[in-house]
């Protein structure tokens, strides 16, 4: 069966960006759209790093809450290094995320955060001995595929 597939070029769009290095054109730095491919790629990478940090933070927080149950005192809270470390990592990650969002489209970059669910699912199995099952594997694959589809559009 012949499938008619007309690829309407999705990216014929919008404001033409300055061809190269808007970095040197400082006069209107704040006024959007002029993000180079390199900048967008860096944004993409920063979001991925953010998801790793946030997943690590979640694991630390989990360790932290376990420790709270063992030492439920105020002093115990202050010396709860997994908890404090997890919070700090969250903060650093959030700052990185904000910087990353500067270049590229929000509608492309924001859903990439779902990659952190993948890391959490994997880390839960490796560290906390949770059981991996078919649903989880399928979910991980679907999210990674979705991230790949979005990511491949990000430079355009």
């Amino acid at each position: 069966m012949p499938i008619l597939q007309r690829t309407v070029s999705e990216t014929t769009v919008s404001t033409i960006t300055a061809p190269d290095s808007p970095d040197s054109v400082i006069l209107n730095e704040v006024s959007v759209t002029a993000s180079t491919t390199g900048q967008k790629r860096r944004s993409l990478l920063m979001i991925v790093v953010f998801t790793v940090l946030s997943a690590t933070a979640q694991v630390l927080l989990k360790f932290g809450t376990i420790q709270i149950k063992l030492h439920p005192t105020f002093l115990g809270l202050l010396t709860n290094f997994p908890l404090l470390g997890g919070m700090a990592l969250y903060g650093i990650g959030a700052a990185l995320m904000v910087i990353a969002l500067r270049h590229g489209e929000l509608s492309v970059l924001y859903p990439l955060i779902s990659l952190s669910y993948v890391w959490v699912a994997v880390l839960s199995v490796v560290i906390f001995g949770e059981i991996m099952n078919v649903y989880k594997v399928a979910g991980i694959c679907a999210i990674m595929a979705g991230v790949a589809v979005l990511g491949s559009r990000a430079h355009k």
Binding site: E10, T11, V13, S14, V30, V32, A94, M97, V98, I99, A100, L101, R102, E105, L106, S107, V108, Y110, P111, S114, Y117, A121, E130, I131, N133, V134, Y135, K136, V137, A138, G139, I140, C141, A142, I143, M144, A145, G146, V147, A148, V149, L150, S152, R153
Partner: protein, 120 residues
């Protein structure tokens, strides 16, 4: 364990607020400059942080009761809102790639949720 409607509502509302905080982050990141004054007067960024914290409160309360397999996919509905706001406020076009990518991610979240039910 059944999932109370209130939990579903809380988590869904939390992700709705969270989608606005994404807007604040994006608008705020455009205004970023390397000095303290501009950072402190960056009101979209401040609104984004406030929205983010507020949405976390809703998540924490909502996730206390109910099954993660139901509630977890609700968290990811925030991405749909974000895509909508991006078009409305930042004129980012809808594309087939974005729809496909988002659909895969949402499906993945549903599956991960089901996976947590399996292991109990």
């Amino acid at each position: 364990m059944t999932t109370p409607i209130s939990s579903i509502a809380l988590v869904t509302f939390g992700s709705f607020i969270g989608s606005f905080s994404a807007l604040g982050f994006k608008a705020g990141s455009r205004r970023l400059e390397k000095n303290l004054h501009s950072l402190l007067t960056n009101w979209p960024l401040a609104a984004g942080v406030a929205g983010y914290l507020l949405s976390s409160v809703f998540f924490i309360i909502g996730l206390k009761n109910g099954e993660l397999s139901i509630l977890f996919p609700m968290v990811s509905t925030g991405y749909i809102w974000t895509m909508l706001w991006s078009r409305l406020f930042f004129k980012e076009p809808f594309t087939r790639g974005k729809f496909l990518g988002l659909a895969l991610i949402l499906a993945g979240c549903v599956l991960l949720g089901l996976g947590t039910r399996q292991t109990g």
